[in-house]
């Protein structure tokens, strides 16, 4: 036997901020105690800047997010900065904190949030907006940026929803528009300098607005026309820029990446190493916001990725690694990378979790190696039920692609297929809903063409539909969103059409909640008038709206009515070409002209080629990186193009 002497520098008796009786009264107290493996430990008194990073949802959701891990790592590389984390307290603790007036605190040093210099909130989905107010309120920070004093943290937002920050503009001191790796050093350096010179909060924010990508809502005035649309959106001062330029990392293989991500004790949603292989997408699906705001596509170097995978698996001890991107099949070195991971880690019982890939010989071979064929399913995301509709949304997947892929998979031993669709797409007709059922039926028929003795039991097709929500910076940003009744009638039509199919017993159908989609639509293309609604809904007890069981649509509806906010104005109204959209002041590189052109092409059901096949002149080339600078042949096709007009299956 042997005694181990534990000689690590660490405050061995980290004391939870919450008293024991509170921790014992809530579900999963480990959500609030921190101390995880790879948590950064620093002396807060030796740091000039204390930054608290927040994901406004429960710990298990927030800890699954790669972006925060990247920024946490990046901030903590600065010796003068200590970055900590905080998540939304779950409803049980939320209640106790209000009753006992316990302030919200960080995980690392268990310090009240109010003592921090910055509170950074990541905005991953619209339905988290009331949770932002929950976090501010529990922290004791005034909800309105204009009411905050010199001692309050500077509240900054970032992430996908900051591309239309207007519905939550009142609650933030500033928004960081674009990719976090580029300019936070400038933001923090300026803060230090301003503090040293005795500058005020207002002076800091004014200077900050001069840094590209920084949007300080309080420095802009919005006026409205009588019909509620925006009349003008102007800076209050001459030195404040009219447009805010999105920030882009030009070389993704030469940027920070968390070699030692924090490893949660609790079982979180993404309990694995996440390797981001590329950013952006060449496909240009017209409904997809990520496909536009992350343009141009930029790949990471494959050797860099292999090295990073080794380091992260070593430092975390995770038993699974997954690749992250919008369309992994388009990554030019995918085979090299995937076979490297399988060959090197199979013996160490590390599971390689595959993102959705185009179904071809390669992906089937890989899937066979890493999954149990009997249990796993193959996934397609045709998004729409007919070819016309798929052309409208520029989703290049054809029936031949799907049936061919499914057939190959069936012959390889699979018998489960998942299909993802959207309902309520622009110009959708009944035949498009019926087409969903027919496509599912065709897949089952493909299965029964295999001789009986070669089949593996019954085929099983799962159809899922979500509702289409037009998003800013997509060609559909002008489009009308379907009403709840239209959603429901098409959802019922899909259901009854599936029932009418010959093999309907092999097809199951799942659909999303329509009320949530209506609310998400309002937030997605909303303006500053919504701030008051969100605040009032929060005061009326709305939090965790992203969780169906806590979403109170009737409360929201009642408050919107009182404020004269109509679903028609925000959702079902088609915008005019010359309307000033709330997010027009942001320049994502992709031009409004290009988006309008795409909107028009969608109305003619015309396909636009992907970025590698032919450049469509969207405007992202001005960043001078990624696919925009790949060498091309005399027809304008990138030499990196694999010739596949089909993108991902999913």
């Amino acid at each position: 036997m042997l005694d181990i002497i534990n000689g690590k520098e660490f405050d061995c008796m980290r004391k939870p901020f919450l008293p024991d009786e509170v921790l014992l009264a809530v579900e999963k107290p480990a959500r609030y105690t921190g101390g995880e493996v790879n948590m950064v430990v620093k002396d807060p008194d030796a740091c000039d800047i204390r930054f608290c990073m927040c994901f406004p949802d429960v710990y298990e959701v927030g800890m699954s997010h790669l972006g925060i891990q990247i920024l946490y790592d990046m901030f903590n590389r600065r010796p003068d900065t200590y970055c900590e984390r905080v998540y939304s307290p779950w409803v049980d603790l939320d209640k106790i904190m209000r009753e006992k007036k316990i302030p919200l605190f960080s995980l690392e040093t268990q310090t009240p949030i109010k003592q921090f210099d910055f509170l950074g909130i990541t905005l991953q989905y619209e339905m988290c907006y009331t949770n932002i107010l929950q976090v501010l309120d529990l922290a004791g920070i005034p909800l309105h940026a204009t009411e905050r004093g010199e001692d309050d943290p500077i509240v900054v937002g970032g992430g996908p929803c900051s591309y239309n920050p207007e519905p939550i503009a009142d609650f933030f001191d500033f928004f960081y528009i674009g990719e976090g790796e580029t300019s936070y050093d400038d933001v923090l350096d300026l803060y230090k300098e301003n503090k040293k010179q005795g500058g005020t909060r207002a002076e800091y924010l004014r200077k900050l607005s001069h840094i590209p990508g920084m949007y300080v809502p309080s420095l802009y005035d919005v006026t409205y026309n009588e019909d509620g649309t925006i009349k003008s959106f102007t800076p209050k001062y001459d030195d404040v820029p009219k447009t805010v330029q999105k920030l882009v990392v030009t070389d993704l293989s030469n940027t920070v990446y968390p070699e030692k991500p924090v490893v949660p004790f609790l079982q979180v949603i993404q309990d694995r190493v996440t390797l981001e292989i590329q950013r952006g997408c060449i496909r240009g699906c017209r409904f997809c916001q990520a496909g536009m705001i992350y343009r141009p596509i930029r790949e990471r170097n494959v050797e860099w990725l292999k090295n990073m995978a080794d380091k992260m698996l070593q430092s975390t001890g995770h038993e699974e690694i997954t690749l992250s991107s919008l369309s992994s099949s388009d990554y030019s070195c995918l085979k090299d990378l995937v076979y490297y991971l399988i060959d090197n880690y199979k013996d160490q019982y590390v599971n390689v979790a595959l993102p959705s890939l185009r179904i071809d010989a390669f992906s089937l071979d890989v899937m066979k190696k890493v999954q149990d064929v009997n249990k796993s399913s193959i996934t397609f995301a045709p998004e729409a039920g007919t070819q016309r509709m798929r052309n409208v949304i520029n989703k290049g997947l054809t029936v031949e692609d799907i049936l061919g892929g499914a057939g190959k998979a069936f012959r390889g031993g699979w018998n489960k297929v998942k299909l993802y669709f959207m309902l309520g797409l622009p110009s959708e007709r009944d035949e498009d809903a019926v087409g969903i059922a027919e496509l599912a039926e065709q897949i089952t028929e493909e299965y029964y063409q295999i001789p009986k003795e070669q089949r593996h039991g019954k085929v099983n097709v799962t159809v899922s539909t979500s509702y289409f929500i037009p998003k800013p910076f997509t060609p559909f940003q002008w489009a009308r969103m379907a009403t709840k009744d239209e959603f429901l009638s098409h959802q019922r039509l899909v259901k009854s059409s599936i029932q009418a199919q010959l093999n309907h017993k092999s097809i199951s159908y799942q659909w999303h909640d329509s009320d949530t989609s209506v609310m998400e639509g309002i937030f997605a293309r909303g303006d500053r008038k919504l701030c008051a609604v969100i605040e009032e809904a929060y005061r009326a007890g709305c939090i965790y709206d992203a969780w169906t069981e806590y979403f109170k649509f009737d409360v929201w509806k009642e408050i919107m009515d009182r404020h004269g906010i109509t679903i028609d104005f925000y959702n079902t109204r088609e915008r005019a070409k010359d309307e000033i959209l709330p997010w027009d002041f942001i320049d994502i590189g992709v031009s409004k002209k290009f988006l309008w052109r795409e909107y028009e092409r969608s109305q003619r059901a015309e396909i636009t080629p992907n970025c590698r096949r032919k450049c469509s002149g969207c405007g992202a080339a001005k960043f001078g990186c990624g696919v925009c600078v790949e060498p091309r042949d005399e027809f304008g096709t990138s030499l990196c193009y694999d010739g596949m007009d089909t993108g991902v299956n999913g």
Partner: protein
């Protein structure tokens, strides 16, 4: 090769559930690059056996698991591996190589060996006459208390389940009662209470029956002894710390790491 590891759990880690601790160690083994034996099948998992789960909020210096390694390693090498991969609030503190199971013999694991446990229990308000109360309790023939189990409450003899009582105050141990069934020196006690959080640096140390046959949970003991002392307060402010787990060896109860099976 079979290995038994003893570990501690304190600080914020005391709010980790049993499943989280198991998941934590699976990742420790990977970071430590220990050649663990895995089960067969599509979802292979390391062959591990954890001893008695610890209640949430308890600290401990005496938790155990048994593992199987694919390769021979020295205790020193295993300890060094674990030490570099453990979290400071759940460190391994003892490694023992166990003899291989004899073929066809019933597999013994840490879990099934347990017959006793020792705890350090501290109260914010320790009764003034505590030593007298403990002395008097030790002189009783039996003392029946109610214990809640899965099938409702059940009466059990608390006195029969207590095998030793001591008071720890400012690092000094005063033995009050010892029925001689346990092997546990004063030094063991001090080591075993290393990561306990104590009020006024004072604790009652108790040896209790544990395991599948007779089990007296530490909170049942505390509630019983308080009601014996005439204190009726429900759940006064207190901390529980497990010092070690014990099994039978040569008619004595010894810490699990001393049992080579």
């Amino acid at each position: 090769m079979r290995v038994r590891v003893r570990f501690a759990k304190f600080g914020s880690a005391r709010f980790l559930g049993h499943l989280d601790v198991m998941r934590y160690f699976q990742k420790v083994f990977r970071r430590a690059e220990l050649p663990l034996m895995f089960s067969e099948g599509y979802h292979p998992h390391p062959i591990l056996s954890f001893a008695q789960p610890l209640s949430l909020s308890y600290t401990s210096d005496g938790e155990y698991f048994d593992m199987e390694l694919r390769e021979e390693m020295s205790e020193e090498a295993i300890a060094a591996c674990l030490n570099k991969a453990c979290n400071p609030e759940i460190p391994a503190n003892r490694v023992t190589i166990l003899p291989d199971h004899k073929p066809n013999a019933k597999k013994v694991t840490g879990m099934s060996l347990i017959t006793g446990a020792s705890y350090a229990i501290s109260l914010r308000q320790m009764p003034q006459n505590l030593p007298e109360v403990l002395h008097k309790f030790a002189s009783e023939k039996s003392y029946m208390v109610e214990k809640s189990t899965k099938n409702g409450t059940r009466e059990c003899d608390l006195r029969a389940g207590v095998h030793g009582l001591s008071i720890l105050k400012n690092g000094v141990i005063t033995r009050i009662y010892d029925d001689g069934s346990y092997l546990f020196s004063d030094e063991d006690m001090l080591c075993g209470a290393e990561h306990a959080s104590l009020y006024d640096d004072t604790a009652v140390i108790v040896w209790l029956d544990a395991g599948s046959e007779r089990n007296i949970p530490a909170d049942v003991f505390l509630q019983g002894i308080l009601s014996y002392a005439g204190i009726t307060e429900e759940k006064p402010e207190r901390t529980f710390h497990r010092m070690d787990l014990f099994g039978d060896k040569d008619e004595k109860k010894v810490p699990l790491w001393m049992i080579e099976s």
